[in-house]
Subunit: 319 residues, 4 copies
């Protein structure tokens, strides 16, 4: 295979703009909307999704938030989570030893440095964010005034459907730069017996980062993931959110001509689509393979962060 | 009412030790157990709890994790959450402006400084933590090796039952130092039509901190909350976790003779009981009053923090 | 005295622009200069200043960098320094106890939240920073590419001259909003027997914040300090830096018409003047009063922070 | 050369204890002393050191405090400095754009993660710190109550003498694990025309870490540095502080039998000797080679950190 993202059709900025207008959800849920495609998860969908739980099995979909995270601050500017004890011998708050002892700790977290949701204020182009708000009005040193992650404080609760691509392709993980195209999504979900429904959360397993954490040689080069074409597929199926176990949901090839992350530009800014990154589906995928059911109750509650443009997260799948 | 915690019977360290032995869950779920009373939430309980969702209504049970938090670092040593933008004009990672723009941010959080769970490694006495592990083996500068919050990565999912004490007493919030005793719990739950069951998460509403956030004068003095007697009540009913909208779940009176937080000592160390603090039940309580149903699906997933002795949290209630 | 900053003549944005052009040092030390008035401190001045040390007395000019700092993050967005132990019982790096024990800690510091220097990249107007560089070229998410504090890594070493205003006026500290005008500077230095020379560091004592730290009631309202007129006085005398024991060197009155910090605008952006804030001159001032010598060797080395727009600092005075 | 620290004579814990008693400075400057060997820098020494400045040349002795620091948090538990902009587009504190614009930033620093001094509370053995204080009294979650770095707030000002070992040996940097023994110190200083005097700050250049920062292959294995024998040499010459451009001042060989850092144990705990680490002497050393003068005015002011067990630092050398 020559070229890491072989098979990804090219798109330029004008192409993105045109497709963005076509797929746009601006105004669809009101001029003041800050939720985007999460509007597709109606209370009925929430309620129906809870009916998917049969065995009471729970799966954490997060990677450990620690210094072994996937970032190299020297190249990406994102540092891995820092966790430090601040008390562990057990002085009481005034240094005197009380009859009990206690321990405390703290975390320093880039909101995008471990498993996380991107707030819709995370990314834009042509000066405007989702729903047409100018970035200078939306984003201040004091946080996002528009589309902050706090809008999701009540959580994302819906049906999760697992697209387990490596399993479908009979491999442990997708190779570097492997593009996932709409037909691939159709095929993997079809084989899983899943017909996508409006409000679904698409759980995209590539297997790459989890394999890397386990010490596997996953190859150099870009991340496997969705091509920009999948934006229309997502729109057509009414998907409310896409969560993936890679860096950026979308395929990352070698830096070349054209915009580097066209899917992000269309998804976050034009469609108002919620993206989740650096997930871990290993445990869930194993269970799905075992019982042949590729759907679950998905529950993810970002921290209640006023002005946040993202949030660390520990999403759950229940079956 | 004279004395902030009037009506709280005294207990000394020997009394705690004796009661602790009686209520102890050490060994009950194995010598290596690190989950404590969460063992009471069986998969069947998880599954049954999801059946409580009827309308698909969602409630965030967290306070905003921001600088308006309840701590004064000068007196308590706990600082309020710090949220700061680290990029908002949109340079790409190498300072060059790309065709898109993005924003990023970070948070610095004491794990006990906003809505949180206490890991069972948070507190102990007589050198031993829950299940008899010595604090020097359990707690290191690198985090908790025993009973870290990471044991809860798969989340706490069970029935939540709301004990709305101020509503029951016809007030907006409990007065400073108001003790909540076993008979009070019986009365408020009985009036709500709730019969506690093993594995339940008790949601204790005092109304105090939320009222204070809204600007109300809640009086000086200690926090209202559970007396140490409630430990036995909790054991008898098989409660898996207690979450409250105050500082410490339990009543805090003026510093006086005797251990200051006897309930914590019994609950965390002897019973292995999960405690959640600084919750906000205002929205949920309003809804419960409206529809007369004081139970919900409770879902709370702490961050996936290796070695954490607590975790920031955005718990959800679904009805 | 009516009006906090009574006696401060008004100036509007156009007035600042005009005076800025007059006082401008752009190009004076080359088109690429990033040091501004620090160029006035020649090696000869450095050497001469060291001759001022007679007794070998040393004075720290910093306030403690701790949670008792002067900021209220809820109003100013600046949080006070956070210092936390990260190890104190003494595990070795792998949790095993070695034959020795050690303790470690960390600090989280806003670079302007305690005693600090402002880098010349800290403030600008009309889009251009000192020496005419556009703020979008100068400032990125990765730090300042122009006029970062790292340019001062070799330290500021020169003669310091103390303008002890409260002592001169026979009071403990200047009242709120008290304006210090050029004639006041002349008077106080003249009384101290100091003739300003090019390259001098002006140490401006108001006494206000130190008094507040000691618990004194310093009154409400703005900070006493320099009026914008002093910019010309500073230019005329070749002052290389001004350091003060208040928030902003300059006088802060009640928010009203006109630019709020005109002196900053002229000093940092047009003159390239180094400003130091939140200093503490109490010990030095006492000593100067005692021996009648109001000059010292001033040595201040900001941290070696690539891209920093300021730096925490512990400046020294030697006599 | 076989064995990284070839030539280092072995010492065991009992040997350290015995030598520690011999070299001990406990009580020498009073039972309450917290300064240790800094007492050797009398005001006369401070004053005399300022006379060493002839040309007004200044040298920063720090490495950049940034993410390119020498630590790998995954192995050492120490993270490199984090610097992040918190404002750079220039909103005023309430999000409204004022007539000026400003930028702000913050740093998160382990106090030992970049160029730093070790406070005397940083390390101990047999439960007692310098001057016989028990570690449980000295060190709390609130910081060091004994021998905190704040005791050094007035700075360290004395003669600095450069021991430029690689230049003396005609190499760019010392090889991994190269031991520096008392005779080596005598030889290098003698060749430099330096006779050590009480109160001197010994500046130990190995060249290793600076070479590594420049991209040189410095070899694997431990750090070159002082052997424990040098403790007596330092005591005999009345050296007040030792600063080095390596991790730990002393030689680090492969983990083997015996205490790993015997020099630290003797120096910090028994002698109360100030150690500075991760310095950079490259610029100073070049200058010394050029003019043949290996002495300078050394000025280093740690941050004013109450309770700190170390401090980031930007030390200066003046000639």
């Amino acid at each position: 295979m020559e070229g890491a993202a072989m098979g990804t059709p090219p798109i330029d900025l004008d192409g993105i703009r045109e497709l963005g207008r076509e797929l746009s959800n601006w105004g669809r849920w009101g001029d003041d909307d800050q939720l985007g495609t999460l509007n597709l998860i109606t209370p009925q969908r929430v309620s129906a999704a809870t009916r998917l739980v049969r065995r009471g099995a729970r799966f954490a979909l997060s990677i450990p938030a620690d210094e072994n995270g996937p970032h190299d601050v020297r190249t990406s500017g994102r540092f891995n989570p820092i966790h430090t004890m601040t008390r562990y011998r057990g002085d009481d708050p005034h240094g005197r030893l009380a009859e009990f002892r206690s321990a405390e700790d703290m975390v320093i977290l880039g909101t995008h440095s471990s498993t996380h949701f991107d707030a819709l204020s995370h990314l834009w182009y042509d000066d405007l964010l989702y729903n047409g708000v100018h970035h200078e009005s939306a984003l201040t040193a004091w946080g996002a005034l528009h589309c902050s992650i706090q809008n999701l404080a009540e959580g994302v609760v819906s049906r999760g459907v697992l697209a387990d691509l490596p399993r479908h392709l009979g491999t442990d993980f997708l190779p570097p730069g492997h593009p996932v195209r709409p037909a691939d999504l159709d095929a993997v979900l079809d084989a899983a017996g899943i017909a996508p429904e409006p409000g679904d959360v698409l759980l995209l397993r590539t297997g790459t980062l989890p394999a890397q954490r386990r010490g596997a040689d996953v190859g150099a080069g870009g991340s496997p993931g969705l091509t920009w074409e999948c934006a229309r597929w997502i729109r057509d199926h009414g998907i409310a959110a896409v969560c993936a176990d890679n860096f950026a949901v979308e395929v990352l090839g070698p830096a070349g001509r054209g915009p580097r992350i066209p899917f992000h530009m269309l998804a976050i800014r034009d469609m108002g689509l919620l993206l989740g990154e650096l997930f871990d589906f290993e445990g869930l995928a194993e269970d799905c393979t075992r019982d042949g059911r590729y759907e679950c109750l998905f529950v993810a509650a970002p921290l209640n962060l006023p002005g946040g443009v993202g949030s660390p997260l520990n999403p759950l799948a229940l079956k």
